[in-house]
């Protein structure tokens, strides 16, 4: 009778197995499993090791990660994993990178609204990132946690902000003062490192000719604008600067730097 001594499965000493489970099991290959052929190509690498490599990709050019996703499907799977972005940011000690900025200058002709600050998004490229398409016709009101709040300049009927405006005031539109803010609607204490794509809320604020300010809040979850708030009178109106979120309240600067309008109880307003 021919007796084959199987090379595998290799049974490691008990001490090693317990160590594996104690210290490194999340990232470690199962030592009882037959040893794979050498990883002479990254194709043979396990996904958890591919993740270790991809997490090292320098954050200065976000396009590198997008290109890596096109290498093969396992890479894309790793990169689109929910936890990857969070780990990536912790690993590189980064707040989300500055990809560019938006401006509302239009007195000097049609210049792109989005000015990229990374080299892969060439300033001479014909089209800005898709979500900002057609941006000559809108004005940016706010930008926070990876979202931009923009309002159409020519009041098309399908702009939800314009509909909200009509609800908040009947004052002639050319004279109205408005501003708004967009923010993550996730629970308090969330660090907002990976909240884009999650629930958000839009705060829209309109003042009429008597400086009476009314606010409505749009909720992503109900996909509807809440009822207008009671009017609050202010001596000075808000200026064009975007709002500041601090201590659970939104703060809007008033003209002439003479005051700040503080909007409280944001979570309760939906």
């Amino acid at each position: 009778m021919q007796q084959n001594t199987p090379k595998y499965p290799y049974t490691p000493p008990v001490a090693i197995v317990s160590l594996v489970h104690c210290f490194v099991s999340p990232r470690l290959a199962d030592p009882t499993r037959p040893q794979q052929s050498k990883a002479s190509s990254m194709e043979l690498m396990e996904e958890e090791l591919i993740e270790e490599v991809l997490i090292c990709v320098p954050p200065d050019e976000p396009a590198y990660l997008v290109r890596a996703a096109l290498v093969c499907k396992p890479w894309r799977r790793v990169l689109s994993d929910h936890g990857f972005l969070r780990r990536y940011r912790v690993f590189h000690r980064m707040t989300p990178p500055l990809l560019g900025y938006l401006h509302n200058l239009y007195s000097r002709g049609p210049i792109p609204r989005f000015v990229p600050t990374t080299t892969t998004t060439s300033p001479f490229a014909a089209a800005p990132p898709p979500p900002l398409g057609g941006c000559e016709r809108w004005r940016a009101l706010d930008c926070r946690q990876g979202r931009v709040l923009a309002r159409a300049l020519f009041d098309p009927d399908d702009d939800p902000l314009v509909r909200c405006l009509a609800m908040l005031t009947t004052y002639p539109r050319t004279e109205r003062r408005f501003t708004g803010a967009v923010l993550c609607a996730a629970v308090d204490g969330w660090d907002h490192l990976g909240c884009h794509g999650g629930p958000f809320m839009v705060v829209y604020m309109v003042a009429d000719e008597h400086h009476a300010v009314r606010v409505s809040v749009y909720s992503f979850e109900t996909d509807a604008w809440g009822p207008p708030s009671a009017a609050v009178h202010v001596d000075r109106l808000f200026d064009g600067r975007s709002s500041l979120l601090a201590g659970g309240a939104l703060h809007f600067a008033l003209y002439g730097g003479e005051g700040i309008l503080k909007l409280m109880e944001l979570k309760g307003m939906t």
Partner: protein, 186 residues
């Protein structure tokens, strides 16, 4: 009985001797032996630290059947170089939770250490570092691989790393259109 007792004592003596040594002997899958500084091994590898603490180090060579001799030689080389270099304060921190800590740039000697490796040797070293729970070595090797991807198109990355493209033409085109901004300078 007496023979057994004597053998037990000899075992005891051998263990004491083992504990006194300042190196440990590791054995690769192909049976080659390597000596490594015990202090560095315990500091850099959670698995080796556990084995040293648990007394499961074999004086005649601790079997590491997952690791070939070339990769193990590099592991040992790294440990010994680390033992001889003055580690920065950042590297001494003993976190066993992987990648919850921010990354620290490779030091000059670590760069040189991985720069001289072939692709195959580098990939093998990544796996060995992972197997042995060597967080720093894993970071340094993975960092090196990620640097090789810098500024390359998906095609070039596949070529460098010998990866098969498992996307269909249509799938690729769809993603490229969706994320066109990432491909301006292709």
């Amino acid at each position: 009985m007496e023979v057994d007792k004597g053998k037990g004592e000899a075992e005891e003596t051998r263990k004491v001797a083992e504990a006194d040594r300042d190196t440990v002997t590791l054995k690769s899958s192909d049976g080659k032996l390597f000596e490594v500084s015990k202090e560095a091994a315990a500091r850099l590898s959670t698995v080796l630290a556990g084995m040293i603490a648990g007394g499961s180090i074999d004086d005649n060579g601790t079997d590491l059947k997952q690791i070939g001799s070339e990769a193990l030689e590099n592991v040992v080389d790294y440990c010994n170089k680390h033992a001889n270099s003055i580690p920065s304060a950042a590297l001494i921190s003993s976190s066993i939770s992987f990648n919850t800590a921010p990354f620290k740039e490779p030091e000059e000697w670590e760069r040189k250490f991985v720069d001289r490796l072939s692709h195959d040797a580098l990939f093998d070293l990544v796996e060995a570092a992972n197997f042995l729970g060597m967080e720093r070595l894993l970071d340094v090797t993975c960092h090196k691989i990620s640097e090789m991807m810098k500024g390359k198109s998906p095609d070039q990355i596949r070529e460098v790393f010998n990866i098969k493209n498992d996307y269909t033409k249509e799938e690729l085109e769809e993603i490229r259109q969706e994320l066109a901004w990432a491909f301006y300078d292709d």
